[in-house]
């Protein structure tokens, strides 16, 4: 009898696992379950669709025939309501029980709602799925004024969408700059200026105390904690994700913010694995547990999980992730863990070019590049090699920096 693999989630983590399992285990039974109504699409391009820059067609990655062609049983619109690890089975919302030899949970997260009055009003949007993107596009095309909340990598997508759709917007931030955990004011100001050029005004020391709605329940204003009122007919909220661990609460699976896995993507239950942004994985480069929501990381985790579902211990997850912002006429790239570390070094290297590198115990663990991405490979190499750059950190800020510029004896 062939092995049976069940994958919950058809994002890039689940789909790359399915692809790898089919390649490595040609006779296996593979089932992919997703609560979404469509198969794998390109989640990092849906913001371009919402901006009105890209049609729907190129965003699809796997149409349903892909699953037939690869003998994968795809279940759309199917919610998993119970995971029974004692009996190696899951149950769906329709009462069906599906048994497995090995299970992969690639169940991602759900955008958090602001805990304020009228946070669920018509016209207040969260952004995670393609269906969200369709609603946002429809809504923003009819809007004149917008409000954006969430000063991070997801919130800036809303800013870009408003800018591209000619919606005059206020970007309400609690602190004094965008993504203040990874950028200094100097770096953030480059991003603020780019927003302003697109008609999106950053408002600092702000946020949302409550939304006001019209008689039809549609948002018409956001009021910040200072009592300032910002009229809007569109609001985008991107304050973070709640990871979908609630179905695991009655199981012995270890969870924290996400599902805890080792570097082989295995949970504390031998035949249950997890992949994608829901994992709290052991990061062998960082030397501690980490989470990462980047596309490349999720894809690699799915592939690694599949290898280890077939042969545990065969391949660890060792990856330096990166995440770019491509909304502006200059590039932006964050890599590794730019919000962590015990030290950092930063510099403006040219007009409109800024970089910051985060360090931990003298080693590079992440950073941000604005304008000039040329050092990205060198910094990622330093991370992978766990090079100690103590005493040479200023060299990292030199234009044209190369790993060869460092004294060789610092290699571990």
């Amino acid at each position: 009898m062939s092995d049976s693999y069940v994958i919950v989630g058809d994002g890039i983590a689940g789909a790359s696992a399915a692809e790898t399992l089919r390649e490595e285990a040609p006779d296996a039974e593979i089932t992919v379950i997703t609560e979404e109504g469509e198969s794998l699409y390109n989640r990092i391009l849906i913001k371009e669709f919402a901006k009105g820059k890209l049609p729907e067609a190129p965003i699809s990655i796997h149409d349903e025939s892909w699953y037939d062609d690869h003998d994968v049983d795809l279940r759309l619109n199917t919610l998993v309501v119970d995971v029974d690890v004692e009996n190696d089975a899951i149950r769906t919302h329709e009462g069906e029980t599906i048994e497995y030899d090995s299970l992969l949970l690639a169940i991602g997260g759900t955008p958090q709602q602001l805990p304020v009055e009228n946070a669920d009003a018509e016209g207040v949007h969260h952004f995670w799925t393609f269906q969200d993107a369709r609603k946002i596009k429809e809504s923003v095309e009819d809007a004149d004024r917008g409000v954006i909340v969430g000063a991070g990598l997801l919130g800036i997508d809303f800013a870009a969408i408003c800018g591209a759709q000619d919606v005059e917007a206020k970007y309400l931030m609690r602190g004094d700059s965008w993504w203040r955990y990874a950028l200094s004011n100097e770096g953030a100001e480059i991003m603020h200026e780019a927003m302003r050029e697109r008609g999106v005004e950053p408002v600092f020391g702000s946020g949302v105390d409550h939304f006001e709605v019209d008689d039809d329940g549609h948002v018409e204003a956001a009021v910040d904690p200072n009592g300032e009122r910002y009229e809007c007919d569109f609001a985008g909220v991107a304050i973070g994700l709640d990871f979908n661990t609630e179905i695991l609460e009655d199981t012995p699976l270890e969870t924290d913010d996400g599902i805890v896995v080792d570097e082989y993507m295995r949970t504390n239950v031998d035949n249950v694995f997890a992949a994608g942004d829901i994992t709290e994985f052991y990061d062998t480069i960082l030397g501690e547990r980490a989470q990462n929501g980047a596309w490349g990381s999720a894809k690699e985790q799915g592939t690694i999980a599949a290898h280890n579902m077939i042969d545990h211990g065969s391949e660890p997850f060792e990856w330096v992730s990166s995440y770019s912002i491509t909304h502006f006429d200059f590039p932006f790239l964050s890599f590794g863990h730019p919000t962590l570390g015990d030290d950092s070094v930063e510099a403006t290297t040219d007009e409109g070019e800024w970089r910051r590198v985060a360090l931990k115990d003298g080693r590079v663990i992440g950073g941000v590049l604005i304008g000039d991405l040329s050092p990205q490979s060198a910094f990622k190499q330093l991370m992978r090699e766990k090079r100690d750059v103590s005493g040479q950190r200023e060299l990292l800020m030199e234009p044209g920096f190369s790993v060869d510029d460092l004294v060789a004896s610092t290699e571990h």
Partner: protein
């Protein structure tokens, strides 16, 4: 299975519209070597060896939409 010609050079050209049948890749999907090449070639009259994960006709979303020409 399609075979690729070896030794081709690629360049990037800005494109104002994206055909519905084009393969569109976001910068973050590309392998690190391709990312480096795209950042180097965008808006510059330069060529580089064709990347393994990019093909002639692909559209890449970077700071704008760029069409890959590989010859």
């Amino acid at each position: 299975m399609a075979f690729r010609e070896e030794g081709r050079q690629m360049r990037l050209r800005r494109t104002g519209s994206v055909p519905p049948d084009a393969r569109v890749r976001h910068y973050d999907e590309l392998a690190e070597a391709s990312q480096v090449a795209v950042a180097e070639l965008a808006d510059r009259p330069r060529t580089a060896p064709e990347s393994a994960d990019l093909e002639d006709g692909d559209v890449v979303k970077f700071t704008d939409y760029y069409r890959i020409r590989a010859r």
